[in-house]
Amino acid sequence: MEINLWQETLLQAIVLGTPLLFVASGELLGQKVGVFNIGIEGVMLIGAVAGFIGMHESGNIAIGVISAALGGALFSSLFALATVIFRANQVVAGFALWLLGLGLSSQIGRSYTAIRASSPIEHWKIPLLHDIPIFGPILFEHLWAVYLAFLSPFVIWFILQRTRHGLNIRAIGEDPAAADTTGVAVTTWKFLYVSLGGGLVGLGGAFLSLGTSRTFTPFMTSGLGWIGLAIVMFAGWQPLRLILGAYLFGGLRALDFAAQSADWNIPSEFLTMLPFLGTLLVLLVSAWRFRNRPGASAAPAALGIAFFRGG
């Protein structure tokens, strides 16, 4: 029994970490080009509802998932329009995006609540690997979107660290004026990456409505978007560390469920709090590393700053 509970907890850590991994990956894409989107909770909800409607109306899960990504991307492009093109304050625009997403998703999804997903995201057993004792069932019998989420930080890492394009993209977040001087299309890429990131965030929402809950409920993300923001900081803006962060945050939530079902005497609030404590510690350690450089941090240097040519 004890083994099974642990197995179940680890399995749930991955399941609960997956939407966080999508959201954090999407947020990281935006932050790497210098745009801090605190409204991703709203983008997630748009993804959740767009995915569900797409699936429900077409009966096809692929169309559902694509709708979620498109919905998230289009909704984020509104934010990109405000912050990148019109250079609005990112915090203010992010709040607006959050509230807009909250209301809009509830309104659009009103007639779709209390419907079960007819064609949800399916489990994929990875041949051979899922037969490995103990680990097989934990790691290799997941919804297929779990594998997709796991791969996305690797893809992002590869693009950012191993390609010419990625070098240009990182430069936009560090010093857009310098990137501009060398001929990088700063505004275009900022816009595209914020939107692209929104697509990933949308997938995070759809993972809930089409994967785990298999139904759409207003406000169903219940703060996961905000945790996604914390994971980006926890990871020190390094793509591969997002995986650690997402599964750690997911794991603590899973532990919380396990603690409740097994009647352990650990206060739920304590477990919920731990990852944020971890985030604070990571930020402190990072600040200590940069103590000799006032104003510097692990974050992209131009994060949150609008770019004006020649300014």
Binding site: D175, A178, T181, A301, G310
Partner: protein, 516 residues
């Protein structure tokens, strides 16, 4: 009388032709109907004071600004340089005065940023290898893995120059490229530029306000004044006096400044100082320095030999690993920068924009940065706007800059005026000692002279000044004593009138020299 060389060489199509180009900023005409031809194979100097329109003209060619009127042609056909990318495509490469390098990136990353010859798939190792071979090809000493923020300004410039050269620009524009180089490095650069231009289809535009450089590097020179072209001449027909007159309308003062009148007791003293640089590598090793009241001590050295660390240690900005710092009898080792300030030490930092002034703030707020803690500006818990204004007005008048609106941003000041403001502020703070790092770098002749006069006046009123500069002529002219810094140690000391430029050069280069 000199004949203007404006007649085009009929046989050659100019590489670049600029006709009647004009750029206005509000009511200010920054570039006023300027004509310019760049021939293939020539180094063309553009000479002018700060505010003469050199940088604006360059930004027009770089695609950073759009001209209000006029034409720019390349190879005989008119072009519109709509963006920096377009400029690069057209073969116009620029080494900016502020290098526009990404601080957190390595040299290798900066070199390959936004470059279509960077392999599509390239890990750090590929970038480093490519950087090594490019650095070798152009004979520039660049450490591929070092990050820009860890480098001295001189090292950063080498990265910027290497980047532009690597991209194979047909028209290479250098904006005051020698301001941070040692004489040897500058000579090497001139040689390289000449090599790049001669017999090629490339043209080099060399923007400068240093007359000797213009004369030694260029084939032709165009003099700008107040946004207009004064004249274009063959360099062989020019001399420094002529160019200076065209540029500023008066003659240069190249005389050494009078020596210190009254040498007082020691003020700022460092004993056995060791400190590390930003990379954690020892930058100062067991260094002793003594600054006495009423003297200017010049620190000569090649960029990156501990000058920056020395200036930061002596103003409390950088901790020491060992050694002691005194102001008179008061020990300041380990004290906060504000205690150094209260002890009467002023500081003109290396980069006036990143550490000297708050560019987003107004002129008057910048003026009171050293004085706002005390009455009359501070009134209890509050600051008095009236006192700020009057303090700022006094300061601005004292350094002779005419500013109508003290509330406007420091960014609206020209480089020379910003430096005068900074100098004035720090001299007001420096009742005992002043640490001045490259105080006249990037300034035109007039502004530099004004800053020098202010320094001399402070010295004569009893302030001890540590002058860190890479401009040897300036050091030779102002200093009462010159020390040479090499790899974090002082390797030589000379008194006024006893300098030997050759010995100085050898010591700066790290050669042990026999001192007579």
């Amino acid at each position: 009388m000199i004949v203007e060389d404006s007649a085009p060489r009929s046989a050659i199509v100019p590489l670049m032709e600029i006709r009647e180009v004009t750029k206005r900023f509000g009511s200010l005409i920054a570039v006023d109907r300027v004509d310019l031809d760049i021939h293939p194979g020539e180094v063309h100097a553009i000479l002018g004071e700060n505010g003469a329109g050199k940088t604006t003209l360059m930004n027009l060619l770089a695609g950073l600004l759009k001209p209000d009127s006029g034409q720019i042609s390349l190879d005989g056909s008119e072009v519109t340089i709509s963006s920096p990318r377009k400029a690069l495509e057209l073969g116009i490469g620029i080494v900016h005065q502020h290098f526009r390098l990404v601080e957190n990136f390595t040299a290798a990353e900066n070199l390959h940023l936004g470059w279509n010859e960077t392999p599509r798939l390239a890990g750090n190792k590929d970038l480093v290898d490519r950087t090594h071979s490019l650095a070798k090809q152009f004979d520039l000493d660049v450490e591929p893995n070092a990050r820009i923020w860890q480098m001295s300004v001189g090292e950063q410039q080498r990265v910027a120059i290497l980047r532009t050269l690597s991209r194979g620009a047909r028209i290479l524009i250098l904006d005051e490229p020698t301001a941070v180089l040692t004489p040897t490095e500058a000579d090497r650069l001139f040689e390289m530029l000449r090599g790049l231009a001669i017999g090629s289809n490339r043209g080099v535009i060399f923007i400068s306000h240093k007359l000797d450089e213009v004369i030694s590097v260029s084939d032709r020179v165009t003099v700008l004044r107040a946004g207009s072209r004064v004249s274009t001449l063959k360099t062989v027909d020019c001399n420094q006096e002529l160019l200076a007159k065209m540029m500023i309308g008066r003659h240069l003062n190249t005389q050494p400044a009078p020596p210190s009148a009254a040498l007082g007791p020691a003020v700022l003293v460092g004993k056995g100082i060791s400190a590390r640089n930003d990379r954690g590598v020892p930058a100062l090793e067991d260094l002793d320095i003594e600054l006495r009241s009423g003297e200017i001590v010049g620190v000569a050295g090649v960029a990156g030999n501990g000058q920056r660390e020395l200036s930061e240690v002596l103003t409390g900005l950088r901790p020491v690993d060992s050694g002691q710092i005194f102001m008179g009898d008061q020990e300041l080792t380990g004290a906060y920068p504000v205690e150094f300030l209260r002890a009467g030490i002023g500081h003109i930092p290396e980069d006036r924009y990143s550490s000297g002034l708050v560019t987003s703030e107004s002129i008057d707020h910048n003026a009171v940065l050293r004085a706002f803690r005390d009455p009359p500006i501070r009134r209890g818990l509050f600051l008095s706007p009236a006192a700020i204004k009057s303090y700022a007005r006094q300061l601005v008048d004292a350094v002779k800059i005419s500013i109508r609106d003290l509330g406007s941003s420091v960014r609206t000041l020209s480089g020379g005026n910003a430096q005068r403001l900074l100098t004035g502020r720090e001299i007001a703070a420096a009742s005992k000692a002043l640490v001045a790092v490259h105080p006249t770098r990037g300034l035109d002749v007039g502004a530099a002279e004004a800053v020098r006069q202010v320094l001399l006046k402070a010295r004569d009123s009893g302030v001890g000044i540590l002058l860190i500069s890479e401009d040897l002529a300036e050091l030779l002219s102002l200093s009462d004593r010159i020390v040479v810094i090499f790899q974090g140690r002082l390797t030589g000391e000379f008194n006024k009138y006893e300098y030997d430029v050759n010995t100085l050069g050898l010591l700066m280069g790290g050669h042990p020299a026999e001192i007579g």
